[in-house]
Symmetry: C2
Amino acid sequence: MKHLRTVTYVAEVARAGSIRRAAERLNLTPSALTRQIQDLEYELGTPIFERLPQGMRLNAAGELFARHIRDQVADLDRVRSQIADLSGVRRGHVSLACSQAFVTQVVPEEVEAYRARFPQVGFMVQVRDHAQAVTALAAFEADLALILQPPPSAELHPLFSGHQTLCALMRTGHPLASETGPVRLRDCLGHALALPDHSLAIRHHIEHALARRGVELRPVVESGSLEFLRNLVLREDLISLQIPSGIPQDPRLHSRPIDLRDLTPMTLVLAQLRGRSLSVAAAKFADQLVVRLNREAV
Amino acid sequence: MKHLRTVTYVAEVARAGSIRRAAERLNLTPSALTRQIQDLEYELGTPIFERLPQGMRLNAAGELFARHIRDQVADLDRVRSQIADLSGVRRGHVSLACSQAFVTQVVPEEVEAYRARFPQVGFMVQVRDHAQAVTALAAFEADLALILQPPPSAELHPLFSGHQTLCALMRTGHPLASETGPVRLRDCLGHALALPDHSLAIRHHIEHALARRGVELRPVVESGSLEFLRNLVLREDLISLQIPSGIPQDPRLHSRPIDLRDLTPMTLVLAQLRGRSLSVAAAKFADQLVVRLNREAV
DNA sequence: GCCCCCGTTGCCGAAGATGCAACGACACGC
DNA sequence: GCGTGTCGTTGCATCTTCGGCAACGGGGGC
């Protein structure tokens, strides 16, 4: 919006770290930018940037002002979304940061369902681990975060919280696939394992449980990609450990929950940034997602 | 601030109810205004005003947008205040809506004390009854409200809450002034009364108590001005009823609390609008006021 | 000492905002 | 029914503001 042009210049200079770089990103000349900044600093009665030989950096006053700008832009987005919603056609944009476990089933299905009702709403889905997800929320890069094992953070405002038990995942021909129902963890450890690597919360959760028993984990394959692990499981007699929400419907795959005596369920949370008010689109999508999660998680 | 110029036009048109009246207040021509409004509506993709024969009125979208503007302006004020506070000299502005009872002693003393520490801070003190005070807060015309008998309102966020017992106020020569300590209400009713009128919460409080006893109040003088009542009490053998915080130190005046069996204490509240963040100046003044009120009210 | 990147400034053209005058629409009073 | 006043709006001229261009001075790195 026009009236925010000047102030977004400030945000861009802060981000770029120098007037010249910011000018380039904004398709402006440095002179135009430096003037806008100076005018603004005059209006505020105080500089908001430190002039360093290698560029510009926000000072304390600038930090306050930059935060104000960010809030203002976000709030305007929210208002525009509310206004669009008044006219019946819901427009808007939803930005979601989620754990890898959810990109297989939950999120694509829900986005599809939502977009079937409101085709004018755009989506942006980023895969992030739990720490990155919080960062994305705080930087206003994501409206919502759907993550496993959320880190304790005052900035996180949960919209849904539930639990899911990890499942042993194998192909139908696997020895353990002859039975259904819970399986003991020690039975799994006797077979070849294909596990998520340490970039994923699932792995930490398993190791945390085994550490107390003094058992060491010796996976034959580990990967940061749950999809890769599943594809591997289809080809070999391997066992992977994944959460039910992330396991696709596939007759070639068999999954059995790990016995609750061996592994506590993982926490699954849908959250937004505390104190931020969501756009209509994001709020409604969150509502829908909560309904789904209530079906899937305990 | 420059970048808010356009949007404040909207606020002014909404307030004035017509482009022409708003233009006059803004020292602009109607043509300039109508264009700005049109541009903004184009940017938003929807009209925000209803065009009526007798002027302009905000529509639903406009209400949302106007609220956004109001919030932004208030937030910018807060940020500027915080920035000013960084430099050591506290600047800013505090706007207080208070009951008449407090303009005699409490508020002038506290304003003086505050301004002695921070001379750069300006004050605006409006006398409002409890209903008007809430309105003033909600319209962002006041940062703080210091009122008696606050109406139940979800918009009110109390920063302090206490009680004060009404006092019988008389001149030193009055028959009841020979004693100190609590006085029964029926003893007061036997003398000529000069009471606050129905525009003041004190009067309602008294009548509420008497109504349960079936006693009717027959004041010989009533007034909306507590100061007038005090001045009258100095000249005649009259009894007035006022709260201790509003009674000035004066050897010619004598006051005795009403017995607690006859009259419950009045509630005294310092409040802000819920969800609004105060400027540094207002927040610090509120802190100071709370300290004082803790000394005066139970 | 040289080079590169930095922010800044004077000057000029382009874009935007504003004022002036006039138009059409509607409400109100006679 | 018909002026009259007020309303928002529009075409055109004017003025302010914004941006681009080129050049300057300053500081870090080699």
